[in-house]
């Protein structure tokens, strides 16, 4: 393979995950092959329990795979074991994760929650706060900047979580139902932002969703069932 040839940002080969052993064994994900390219926004569909979150967690290096290989940005991350010693650094620098349950830190206010990841990546405080403000304003939660997460509505918390995931300009963005708590208009704003980030940062965006309103926003859609990718659809031609 030519070194200059484009490579997928995410490469999964036979990636599998099971929980428990024997009677209690659950095969959450069975031998998934998946290549995700810079600049594309893909959707993951499937019934509850089909393995969508599991797949995101494997790509996000939050859960250890059981079999297969995982390459991120040209680096082999997992093959039989973790090959990258500092997974947290990898997550901080390359991966933006929008969690299904937001996971905002309750003791930080909204803008601190967003600025924290920049602070940890060593950005100066002023820059971190400016960036946080920009993202929050774009997502229309700027007015809640000094609020504590516990006082936010579900949709506001979701948008703060999105701002945090994007703050460090990651190349791989994994979003678990990012529009579940949003109305159609705001869901559209979020998808526009994710699209913009994919193009500007040549990032890959993976979105788990049940939300039919946004299906036409994806370059490709993968349907999962019982831990396998069963169909692939291209509602939108890749740019």
């Amino acid at each position: 393979m030519n070194a200059d040839a484009p490579r997928p940002l995410v490469e999964c080969r036979g990636l599998a995950k099971h929980y428990g052993e024997g009677e209690a064994r659950v095969d959450a994900l069975k031998a998934v092959d998946l290549d995700l390219w810079p600049g594309e926004v893909v959707g993951l569909l499937g019934p509850s329990g089909s393995g969508k979150t599991t797949l995101l967690n494997l790509i996000g290096c939050i859960v250890e795979p059981s079999a297969g290989t995982l390459h991120l940005d040209g680096e082999t991350v997992w093959q039989g074991k973790w090959l990258r010693p500092d997974l947290r650094r990898l997550r901080l620098e390359k991966i933006g994760f929008i969690f299904q349950f937001h996971n905002l830190l309750p003791f930080l206010d909204v803008s601190e929650n967003v600025a924290l990841v920049l602070d940890m990546a060593g950005r100066p405080k002023a820059e971190a706060l400016t960036r946080a403000r920009e993202l929050l304003d774009y997502l229309e939660v700027g007015h809640r900047r000094t609020a504590k997460p516990s006082s936010l509505s579900g949709g506001e918390a979701q948008r703060v979580a999105i701002a945090r995931a994007l703050a460090n300009r990651p190349r791989i963005i994994l979003a678990d139902e990012p529009t579940a708590a949003l109305d159609g208009e705001r869901a559209g704003i979020v998808m526009d932002l994710l699209r913009k980030v994919a193009v500007e940062q040549s990032a890959t965006v993976v979105v788990v969703t049940h939300d039919e309103k946004i299906w036409d926003r994806f370059d490709r859609i993968f349907a999962l069932r019982d831990g396998r990718i069963v169909t692939q659809d291209t509602p939108r031609r890749r740019p």
Partner: protein, 378 residues
Amino acid sequence: MNLALRDIRHHLGRFLMTALGLGLLLGVVLSMIGIYRGLVADALALVRTPAAEVWVVETGTRGPFAEGSRIPGDTRESIARLTGVTETGSMTFQSLEASHRERKLRLQVVGWEPGRLGGPPAIAEGRGLARSRFEIVADIKTGLALGERIDLGGDTFTVVGTTRGAVSSGGDPVVWMALRDSQVLQFRLSPAPARREAARGPVAAGAPDTINAVVARVAPGASVEAVVEAARRWKHLAAMSQDEQETILTRSVVEKARQQIGLFTTVLLVVSTVIIALIIYTMTMDKIREIATLKLIGAPDGRIVGLIVQQALALGLIGFTVGASLITSVKDLFPRRVVMLPEDAASLGLVVVIVCLVASGLGVRLALRVDPATALGG
């Protein structure tokens, strides 16, 4: 962005209550140390008042505080004639219980010859003794007021002066009276057989001329050891330096108390350590989800360890400050002296810091083991 501080502010009330509780505990530890220091200070207060350099007592005894000592009244003159001796004084020491205004009053009576060594420290109110008999200088802790009269051993004494902080090693307040008065008092209060035997002595009519100790000062440049050596040559006398006398007192009077309080303080410190460790462990347990989230978003271990250790230190230092200020403000309400030495407070502060660091080890261990995936559930 300091996470420890932010988290403390988020649970400020709970954090302050915890620190207050810990402060009370540390206050108890500090007061134990203060009580011990007070005990030592009290034990040495009386023996230091004459500012003597040599103590002469009965042979074979370690008197007059640790053991009884009786020597003839003319001993002082013999000692005064030794080379190097500049000042001397005859002294008696007697602890008694007097009934005064319908209540029992425990007193340490000290007799001395006004004008010679052995009198009260600075007079707080009133004056020293002027007449040769029936006057006393009493410590404020006796509760006796200036001009008040008190019956001691059948004679009535008038309080002409007061002192502050003069107590015996047992904590009883001191009353000073003229040597002759104190000898009569000792004679009247001594057990009957001893009195009969003493009556056969030289001063059959009244109380015998017996004293408990002679104190002496030595000229600058003269050797205390030489005077002690010279005094020991009298067969019926024993002599010791001020240092030796203080050592005897601390050994005999304070040693048991020191061990007792030392052991208790150790137990308290162990208890505090366990409590601090538990508090920090629980504080960490309460933050498991946040710690997992921090790991999810890529926080390095240093940030997480810092969160726990800084909170532990803040807790310890606030608790310590609360405890120290509490004890400093109430120490005078204790019935016996409580002495707060800055170096004791400093060493306890240091111990608290170390304990907090050790105790946060448990919390840190827990935090570092947290699986980031635990934050993913709802």
